[in-house]
Assembly symmetry: C2
């Protein structure tokens, strides 16, 4: 195989064969194809795209580059949940114990967040003592015992993705639909769960801003799962504004606890019910979505979901006292509220600006390997359309220093716009893609 010829064919818009893609990835992982040829190939893919067949072949080749987790010892159907990442995305912390309390076996392997704010592991690591790295034996045993486990992904799974992602990150080739799809799906397939719920974020604060492209990504991932013998459902959800009110690791844990206590923002609750009902359907627990949502609501109201969260924290070595006393979570030394002198409605919150602001405060990483500060971040007074009474905070900033605080207060002011007039709210869930045929069009 001549690599320059392969790059040229992709550059000229041709489709590559399954075996060619497999050989390319194998040779790359072996170090036989240098990074500069892979970088040129990735940029050609950025411009020319890949067919579904090519993307599936790329995904397969990436899965084969390493080990695959075997979750059969769990016994029964396992469900994974993945989000493409956004600002204030507290879903996992609420949804996983909620679904587990309803009988779903949840098996989530997670990567470290690379975006503005931390990933799921960073949020969990804000809980004192919480172990985010479990062995495969610990992982499966915990799912058997309490129906739920989350761990960092073993580097032995999909080593090709690690190398490709690092290269994409420094060559401006991250935002490519087939490259995102193969990166996500190779990890999900290697991680071993039978069923996968994917939350594709769309909007200013997401990797993908455009609804059509998000839909394309969603359809592609559903097809790749099908070709790999897995079943996946994709939800497109809004990331034009932050999802939850909190943006920052410990702050989001606190919001998750409030939500599990039945005091969550309706938008976040609704998203968790939608995704949870689909997890129940996929797990074979309850096929009817309305009935499933009813069950989930009861689990929230009865406190069973919160108890499952407590059980989960305990199982992974965390300090369960945070459940009843969130003040035990790391707290930032400097806190300031932004208030309004009059009653106002939130007209807009720019998720990108708010996310960048949180990252500057230390809640996210600027580079791979950076440490995150679990305590810092922003808590909004509401989502778009919500009314903020005079004297109540529009937002509260939590910072590590006085300088950070005043800079962030200014940035939050610019990210948020207010209105004296009533503003319509915006739903969190935009669409659902479950197989090609059931999507609504």
């Amino acid at each position: 195989m001549r690599i320059p010829e392969l790059i040229r064919r992709k550059r000229d818009g041709e489709s590559l064969g399954e075996r060619e893609i497999e050989e390319l990835i194998t040779a790359y992982v072996r170090g036989e194809v240098p990074d500069y040829q892979m970088a040129a190939f990735l940029m050609a893919v950025y411009f020319r795209g890949m067919t579904e067949e090519e993307t599936a072949a790329l995904t397969r080749a990436m899965v084969r580059s390493g080990e695959q987790a075997d979750l059969r010892t769990v016994g029964g159907v396992t469900v994974d949940k993945h989000s493409t990442g956004g600002v204030g995305d507290t879903t996992t912390l609420v949804l996983l114990p909620l679904a587990a309390s309803a009988g779903v076996r949840v098996a989530k392997m997670s990567g470290r967040g690379l975006g503005f704010t931390g990933g799921t592991l960073d949020k969990l690591a804000a809980i004192p003592g919480f172990r985010t790295e479990l062995s495969v034996a610990e992982f499966t045993a915990q799912i058997r015992r309490i129906g739920l486990a989350v761990t960092g992904q073993s580097p032995a799974l999909v080593p090709a993705d690690g190398r490709l992602y690092a290269l994409r990150d420094v060559t401006a080739t991250v935002e490519s639909i087939p490259l995102i799809a193969s990166s996500v799906m190779s990890k999900k397939i290697a991680a071993g769960a039978d069923k996968i719920v994917l939350d594709v974020k769309v909007g200013r604060g997401a990797l993908i801003r455009d609804r059509d492209r998000a839909e394309e990504l969603g359809r592609l991932m559903v097809q790749i799962a099908r070709r790999a013998g897995r079943e996946a459902t994709v939800f497109l959800t809004d990331m034009d504004q932050p999802l939850g009110l909190a943006v920052g690791n410990a702050l989001e844990v606190a919001e998750a606890i409030r939500t599990l206590q039945g005091r969550g923002h309706p938008a976040l609750v609704e998203l968790c019910l939608e995704l949870g009902a689909e997890m129940m359907r996929l797990a074979g627990v309850e096929a009817d979505p309305d009935r499933a949502k009813e069950i989930l609501l009861k689990k929230l109201e009865s406190g069973e979901a919160l108890e499952k969260f407590r059980e989960w924290v305990r199982a992974q070595g965390g300090d369960e006292r945070i459940v009843d006393d969130p003040s035990r979570l790391p707290a930032a030394p400097f806190v300031q509220a932004i208030q309004s002198d009059v009653d106002v409605y939130i007209r807009d919150v720019d998720a990108l600006r708010l996310g960048r602001c949180a990252a500057k405060l230390g809640a996210g990483r600027q580079r791979k390997g950076d440490a995150v500060d679990p305590s810092v971040g922003i808590v909004m007074g509401g989502r778009v359309g919500d009314r903020i009474e005079r004297g109540r905070p529009v937002a509260v900033v939590h910072a590590a220093s006085r300088e950070d605080l005043s800079a962030a207060v200014e940035e939050v002011r610019q990210a948020v716009s207010l209105s004296r007039e009533k503003v319509p709210g915006r739903p969190a869930v935009i669409a659902r893609i479950a197989g090609v045929d059931t999507f609504g069009r």
Copy 2:
């Protein structure tokens, strides 16, 4: 400067600033920007192009990456001539002594050919004893003495081009107009000549197949020269069929001698007159093109051009006896003519196939650093439109082995198509671009 951000901006179709491009090239040459980022950048340039300003900035940055030749000691205006490369392109060997015999000071620095057939240096190296590497002192002294010198380009000139070209070659990013323009023009500017005649080949056997793209390249190079304080004229010439009859190094030297003896093919002669007249205009020798061509024709007829060729060969250490006795040139051991049983016209000759065939015979390089065989190649019986009388050769193949010979004979048969009907000839010169305003539209 953040390189991924710079790549992203080019990827998204933005124009980069002069200083950004300069910093990128400087950092790349210093090894501070890795090949994989440059490869992604080059592929983004392939898709998005560059403005004239960006290309000029890139060219300048490349020139500044190394030394620049100082030809002021030559005294008077120096003219360089460059071809983008094609099959059977014997022009330089004829044109340079022809123009020098008419009083033009010709200063040509040449790269080794990377295409199907050898470059000018490979052709000259087919002359026993000919030295293709002169010191700068030898180079300028020879121009002063006989009005003409050709040498391989010093690696101290434009080191950035050497690295960039090698990278483009293995990442399928060669065929980009701004990258070709900056590569050619940086070398021409660093080589020091005041005036530059550029022969841009168009067609199947050329890097650029499409006339519009060739015109775009030509205009761009003229503008880059202007911005660098040089004057350049571009000719677009046909490379759909080979230019001369001979394809192969010693075979082309022999054709050049025949042409300088006044027995050349009219198409090759016409091209040399066109380019020669322009060199005379640029050198300030004769401004009127018709008058210039008359002078050049007389130099051919009187034998003065041939004498200048002889003087040139002698000056660079070559065996000048080849001029009167071309059988002293390297000769291939296996020769076979392809004949026609009837009178025919040449309908088509595929320059790409013929060039590849010559390269397989050993006349060109498959890879950088390969040796070429000076003796092998193909001599056509005519150009498209020419009549071949029954029993006369349509083509003659010169090979190093019997196997090569029979394979090449078969390939030549496929590259050439014949017709019993008369076929119109095709001119070699397509258009001329001298500054933006004078081009005919």
